[in-house]
């Protein structure tokens, strides 16, 4: 195998020998020089065309800025937006926590960081330099990027380059933690939402559209929550780093399970606003959860005692039969699932809880699981107080990430089962799995989309 680095990594930029670098990388031979000139011409013209296409007034970017709320949450009622913000905040809090906990605290030499920055700023300068001044709209020329703006951008860019260059010269050897750089970028981003102004569709008091669209700052309902969430993120990062420094390694499992739980909590409690009824929780859920956690703890304690050991197998089978029977009885859904989980506990407890320490741990995990499950099911099975006429409460970007999350969670185990089936030695199972795999993957995705849509439609009529 050959050394990948020689081909992959870009040639080092050395300021000392610019002419030598140019000669080696751009003009090493006649054909290379011709290629360089041609490709620079191609890159410049393609960039000019693309930039002109995107900043042309025909593109109507106000359609995006005006409807951004629609893109994010679709028709979710504005009065309940606090729930959306709690969702975002929860996820970003978790992000900060796991970032702080898992961060390697890598250090970057300021010189290297500055080199990266210089590359970024010079790309920006390149785009500013080649951006077209005016574009052609239906036969007339419209100015989209005036030369004054260009000069201001260039001045800012050159100023930035000088600053970074000075920084690079002054502290060439000093190091900085990479996370701090990321937080610097993030705070610049959050700071910028207080400053920037975007073109927005506005109407006068007599309901006429203001033309041209005025540049307005972002609304407080956007800026304040993002700033608070950013604060929470820093806070979570600090907590995560603190826990890591204390050496609480069990936290990694807790963080992982929070990532699994968070979408479930969001779907069942936060986003739906369930009409659960406090009396239901007090008289039904909490007694059920307490009973089952006590039952489970008793099982964990007793199953390994010498008197019970010979009967372990019968208890497990009995529990299985009981849970199947209860599954078909008209009882609360919570009970049906809890009995199944108890059967799982009874069958694994003797192996896992073989010492006092592990029995204690398992009891804690069991009680927490039971409470969380009962509460999740209460939230999911209650009526939703938020009703969006004509569509689902999930829409826009919310739907995107929810489908992505649950899609990954469900398709991964299913894929493993299919893969195992395909490698099975039993011909019937192997052939069926192969058939399913080949049929599904040879037909385009959009066809399956229509297929399931029409199938659901047939069932509902």
């Amino acid at each position: 195998m050959q050394d990948n680095k020689t081909l992959e990594s870009p040639p080092e930029v050395q300021f000392a020998g610019v002419s030598r670098w140019l000669k080696e990388n751009l003009f090493s031979s006649l054909s290379s020089s011709i290629l360089t000139v041609l490709s620079i011409a191609a890159v410049v013209s393609v960039f000019r065309a693309i930039i002109g296409f995107f900043i042309s007034p025909e593109r109507e970017w106000t359609a995006v800025t005006y409807n951004l709320q629609l893109y994010m949450v679709q028709a979710y009622p504005e009065s309940d937006f606090i729930r959306v913000w709690i969702t975002v905040g929860l996820l970003i809090f978790l992000l900060g926590l796991s970032w702080g906990f898992n961060s390697l605290k890598e250090k970057v030499i300021i010189k290297e960081w500055c080199d990266g920055l210089l590359k970024g700023i010079s790309s920006f300068l390149f785009i500013v330099l080649i951006a077209p001044t005016s574009v052609d709209v239906e036969g007339t020329t419209v100015e989209v990027f005036s030369n004054n703006t260009r000069y201001i951008c260039l001045a800012v860019g050159v100023g930035l380059i000088l600053t970074v260059y000075l920084l690079r010269k002054t502290y060439p050897k000093n190091e900085i933690v990479r996370d701090r750089i990321s937080f610097l970028y993030l705070s610049l981003l959050v700071g910028s939402i207080w400053i920037i102004k975007v073109p927005t569709v506005t109407f006068t008091s007599s309901n006429e559209r203001v033309d041209p669209d005025p540049f307005l700052p972002l609304a407080n309902t956007t800026t304040i929550p993002w700033t608070i969430i950013f604060g929470f993120m820093i806070f979570a990062y600090l907590i995560g780093s603190f826990l890591k420094a204390k050496g609480k390694n069990s936290m990694s499992r807790l963080i992982l399970s929070s990532w699994v739980l968070a979408p479930l909590v969001i779907v069942s409690w936060i986003y739906r606003k369930p009409d659960f009824g406090m009396s239901n929780i007090l008289t039904l859920d909490i007694p059920i959860a307490v009973t089952f956690s006590i039952l489970g703890i008793l099982a964990i304690r007793t199953l390994n005692s010498e008197k019970i050991v010979p009967y372990q197998r019968y208890i497990t089978y009995g529990m299985l039969v009981l849970s199947i029977v209860i599954f078909f009885l008209p009882v609360l859904r919570q009970l049906k699932i809890l009995f199944f989980i108890t059967w799982l506990l009874v069958s694994v407890a003797p192996t896992i809880a073989n010492s006092k320490e592990s029995a204690k741990n398992l009891s804690i995990v069991w009680s927490v699981t039971v409470f969380i499950l009962v509460l999740l099911m209460r939230g999911a099975s209650s009526e939703s107080l938020i009703v969006v006429p004509g569509s689902s409460i999930y829409g826009g970007f919310t739907l995107t990430w929810l489908i992505a999350f649950f899609g990954i969670a469900i398709s991964f185990p299913f894929g493993v089962i299919l893969a195992l089936g395909r490698t099975s030695k039993l011909p019937v199972i192997r052939i069926i799995c192969t058939a399913v795999i080949e049929l599904v993957r040879s037909v385009p995705f959009i066809t399956w989309l229509f297929f399931w849509k029409r199938y659901a439609h047939t069932l509902s009529t």
């Binding site: 195998m1 050959q2 050394d3 990948n4 081909l7 870009p10 040639p11 990388n25 751009l26 090493s28 290379s32 290629l35 360089t36 490709s39 620079i40 191609a42 890159v43 296409f53 042309s56 025909e58 239906e138 036969g139 030695k425 039993l426 011909p427 019937v428 199972i429 069926i432 080949e438 049929l439 993957r441 040879s442 037909v443 385009p444 995705f445 959009i446 066809t447 229509f450 297929f451 029409r454 199938y455 047939t458 069932l459 009529t461």
Partner: protein, 512 residues
Amino acid sequence: MKFNKAFWRDVRFLKWAGQIAFLLFIFNLISNFVSQAIENLNATNLPFSWRFLGTTPGVLISEGFVTYPESGLQALQVGMANMLRIAISGIFVATILGTVIGVARLSKNWVVQRSSSGLVETVRNIPLLVQIFFWQAVILSFPRPEEIDRGEMIFDISAKGIAFPWLDAQETSWLFGVWFILSFIAARRIFKWRVSVMESEGREAYPGIASFITFIAWNVGGWFGGYKAVGVIGFVASLLSDGFELLPRIGIQSLIIFIGFYYSYKYISKEIKRTRSAENRGILTDDDIFKIIMAGLLVLILAIGLFLPFGITISDFLVGDEPFFKADWGIPQFLDGVQNRLNWELTGEPFTLSYPEIIQAGQSKFSRYSPDVGKVMSVGYFATWMGVIIYTSVFISEVVRSGIMAVAKGQSEAGLSLGLKRSTLLRLIVLPQALRIMLPPMGNQYLNLAKNTSLGIAVAFPEIVAVGQTIYNQEGQTVAVFLIWMAFYSTVSLVLSSIINYYNRKMKMVER
């Protein structure tokens, strides 16, 4: 079978019982699924049937070889043809473009390397659907044809699409087409002959130039009448067609069944023979038994199916009124078609060049390109084609890059030290080895391209999914249309992957 313990604890019994139970479970699942759907369809007064394939759908398809299809089947065929047009041309162009980008990413030139990396990273991180919409927006941003007076034109872009000159096929085009394909074979023969001369006599024999001259001379000669030699095929086809009509129908059925039985017998005896080796000791595994049973079963089903009024609705549209399976499979009609197209009595130039024109669209004030002269690439076609090509070619470029990088550096160094030129080195040493690594992932990319053409529905390009949707919205036969979609796409995938597998076997290193 002898059981030496209780049979329900015997692993052989458990294995087969489990499989049969699984089979029954799957069968039950599918039949529930299907019967539920069919029941509901019946309740909506639209029972499952294939009849829509024969009736006129009365829809307009915006482009294709027929715009007012006479039957549902023809409408779907237009969709299939449109899909194949994009898929086949897309595969060729995406391969070339992908190779160029892949090589550019390995270039020593900084600008070339950086810009191609940027292109790859941008394109592959944007969903294909968004890219197709982008290309549609690009072409719609051109002025409409009536807005600017263009006069005489050769090549033109407007909001209605891209128009360019095109070769119009004449009567003799089929003859010339076959002649053209033969020219490739002739040129290849000459190339091999010159190479063998070069190898045996050790002198420069110019294989490339010789084969190129053959190619040109063959086609120039063909254009001015040489193509008539192909008429021999048409003559043979007419003889065969006459011969077929003399054969009784029962004879053809028996022939097909005989061939089926022969091959199944050969397969089974081969399987049994294979186990009679030292390591297998004549023991048939579950797998072998299953294969043998399946081989016998399939040929039995074939034999019974050929003599039964099997699926009357299917045969209805195949043959019209006859309730029996069409036994000659349309072979005489096909041979007649060959005879008519490859007739040596036809004369004239095979192709004529025509230029695009702008005409008035009906009675409206709008205008459009004339569909009869020149060639027009419509907005939907352009957007789908462009999106699919650019998207697939960046993935192909990654395949090419990884293939070239996986060839050990020592190989090219050895070639250079032998004194090979860079181009010869690439052609004779690096590429053959790289191709071997590239082929399987390349096949995957081709399959993806073929499947991704279905996104053309988003920009109203009438490929098979869009046409099928139009038809089932009109006739209500969703299940039938879905079955046709699945059959069509599975066939395309199978054909593509068998072509790739064939080349893969051919290119594989000979291992001892």
